[in-house]
Amino acid sequence: MFKQTIAITAMNLRAIPQRLGTSSVIVVGIAGVVAVLVSVLAMATGFHKTVANSGRADRAIVLRGGSQAEINSSITRDNMLTILDAAGVRKDASGKPIGCGELVTVVNLPKIDDGNSSNVTLRGSCGQLAQLRPELKISQGRMFQPAVRELIVGAGAAKQFRGVTLGETISFRDSDWTVVGIFTTGGDAHESELIADADTVQSAFRRNMFQSVTALLDAPSAFERFKDALTTNPTLTVDVKREPDYYAEQSKQLTKLLNFIAYFVGGIMAVGAMFGALNTMYSAVSARSREIATLRAIGFGSGPVVFSVFAESLLLALMGGAIGALLAWVFFNGNAVSTLGANFSQVVFRLTVTPGLILAGIWLALFIGLLGGLFPAIRSARLPVVDALRAS
């Protein structure tokens, strides 16, 4: 039995090149499905990775109650100072709390590839930025100085938008700002931003409030203490969130939408590819009908024949899946794209084809191959030997 199976399967697989035209239908069809599925999922994964990975468990962000995102929020200077003085905030060597009242403004910059004017976040931060966000590293140039119109640009923004390379000046609101540095933050959402000194941004944009307060805590476990201190303070109406929670919430909706598109479109395409696979396998079985009948006549069981049909369809599906995943990986992995994020401004992210996604694509391919092989395999087993032998 086992020997029979091996023999028939090997014989069948060796014959695939003779049926190249019809066999390639399965391969191409499934490659298309898997390529689309993997690319859209890579988009969702990339976005999620960028946004949801922003932040650390021992940092908390404070917004005005019910404002959802920084752009909607507002916090007065007095409240900011109260928040930073609360229990649980880590102090630096001189006893000053480590944290910044920040404001976000949105500025328009043209995109490099199509010139479309896009919203980019200009964040006003404070002198403690380096201590507050140790993951922020200046890769070129230097940090901005307070009280002068200087800003640093995230590596993602520098690649996506025009006019923000080192040494250039940008003008907003009758003021010129010099780009003095390019920074990286390990690929999180802040890399899509421009950052300058909060007081300088406030004066240029004629604001007197902050929009969020981000504080470094003594430890991740200090969060509850910090939160309780703020929520029980009658002078404050604020939402306090751990940074990872805040960013996870921000990425939830788009990730959900992209996943839906991937599975919905991929699913429909998979059904189409399955019909193609059925076609191929039926014609493969009918092309082999004489061979199968001969084998059955000389004593081979129907099991090995069925198995050989399955083996063929699964092998072709696997090839298709691998080609599709490879195409997605070669063309899209690492491509930087951007979309409108929660702060009404662009978030730059990279399409990320992870091994998990490739595996998901291969599984789908095998599933299509299995279904596509099922009915033709049954037919091969039921082939009436005598009639098939007579067939021309």
Partner: protein, 383 residues
């Protein structure tokens, strides 16, 4: 037409094969219809944009407020027939997901520049009389089962009220409106700017952006430049764009939806071309003796070619029609995901028909050529 039975018979020569091919083309057109429909929903705002209107926003970005004092200056620009202010209110009803596109406006100004909004004059009067009045789109009213006279509270994610420090804004529904020519805009709401400006804690005396109507759309580029020139080097520089440019650039910021749709469809149709082409080739190959018989009977080369092409055309057109029909039936399901009405525009159906014909010609072309070149003697002899 008299060859139809022949065509029909050859099409169903191998039932299983035809059905599977048909179904995979149906799937492709189902995707085509749905993706193009969704794309059209996004583009609708662009297509419906009124050429008579300009949007004047802060040059820095849409989120930067503009002073209300700019109104008189803009009105003084020649060729302008109206100026109305709008502001982003960022409201939801009870839960975050129940987003309500409510805008504080001066209702007379707004109706003047956006005449597509149809509402009863006495309701406009009622809005002006009622400080906390609001006029809502009919679809919004329907969604929450509200009626005129109801008092509803909307939560603003941005604005805080001065009197009690809360973000909940009470409104009295005094009327409804219909946006002529674009159903998707029937989910908005308009309320008094005066109420909004008096009650908010910050940003007083500012607006989000100006909507400007012009007399002659051919002049709109010059007028836009003239408006921007008024405020150049002032603290509040502006950027004026036609409504169409404004909408387009806004949609583009979400990512190039058009491109993504086209890329997916490209992959789908390439796959399909391959599949159908293969099936057609196979079917012609198997029928070579039959085609030779037809030729022997006196069918010309051209006629045999036409028969093969007609067969692939029939297959593709039936499948395309079925696919687009399915897409149309599935659209109501997509509404919840898209957050608005989507439907299959006639243009997409027309393009779908065209694509079906091209697909048929592309896949039937090679087999038809083969049928045409067939030499009777060789074919009958099986050579």
């Amino acid at each position: 037409m008299k060859y139809f039975p022949l065509l029909w018979a050859t099409l169903w020569r191998k039932k299983a094969r035809t059905i599977f091919t048909l179904l995979s083309i149906v799937i492709a057109f189902l995707l085509f219809g749905m993706l193009q429909g969704v794309n059209a929903a996004f583009q609708q705002g662009v297509n419906n944009a009124n050429v008579n209107r300009l949007i004047v926003a802060s040059r820095i970005s849409l989120t930067e407020p503009l002073p209300i004092s700019q109104k008189q200056q803009i009105e003084a620009v020649p060729g302008i027939t109206g100026v109305a202010s709008s502001s982003w209110f960022g409201a939801y009803y009870q839960e975050q997901k129940n987003f309500v596109f409510a805008m504080p406006v001066d209702i007379d100004d707004y109706l003047n520049v956006v005449p597509e909004i149809k509402t009863a004059p006495e309701q406009v009067e009622a809005l002006k009389r009622t400080r906390t009045g609001i006029i809502m789109g009919i679809d919004l009213m329907k969604k929450y089962g509200w009626k005129i006279g109801d008092r509803v509270s909307l939560h603003s994610t941005i604005w805080v009220r001065k009197d009690d420090g809360s973000s909940n804004w009470p409104f009295d529904i005094v009327g409804t409106y219909i946006f002529e020519g674009d159903e998707s805009q029937n989910t908005g709401a308009f309320f008094n700017y005066s109420y909004f400006d008096e009650a908010r804690t910050f940003g007083n005396g500012t607006v989000g952006w100006w909507t400007v109507s012009v007399k002659d759309p051919n002049q709109s580029a010059q007028i836009a430049a003239a408006i921007d020139k008024l405020f150049v080097n002032s603290p509040d520089e502006t950027k004026s764009q036609s409504e169409k440019e404004f909408t387009q650039s806004f949609i583009k910021q979400f990512g190039d939806i058009n491109f993504i749709v086209k890329a997916i469809l490209g992959a789908v149709f390439f796959t399909l071309l391959f599949l159908t082409g293969n099936t057609m080739m196979q079917s012609v190959r198997e029928r070579i003796p039959e085609l030779a018989v037809l030729k022997t009977l006196g069918f010309t080369d051209a006629k045999v070619t036409a028969l093969v092409l007609a067969e692939s055309l029939l297959l593709c057109v039936i499948a395309a029609a079925l696919g687009l029909l399915c897409a149309d039936l599935m659209f109501p399901m997509l509404e919840s995901v898209m957050g608005g009405a989507v439907s299959l525009p006639p243009r997409v159906i027309a393009i779908g028909g065209g694509v079906a014909v091209v697909l048929a010609l592309a896949t039937g072309g090679l087999p038809a050529l083969r049928a045409k070149r067939l030499v009777i003697v060789d074919a009958l002899a099986g050579r």
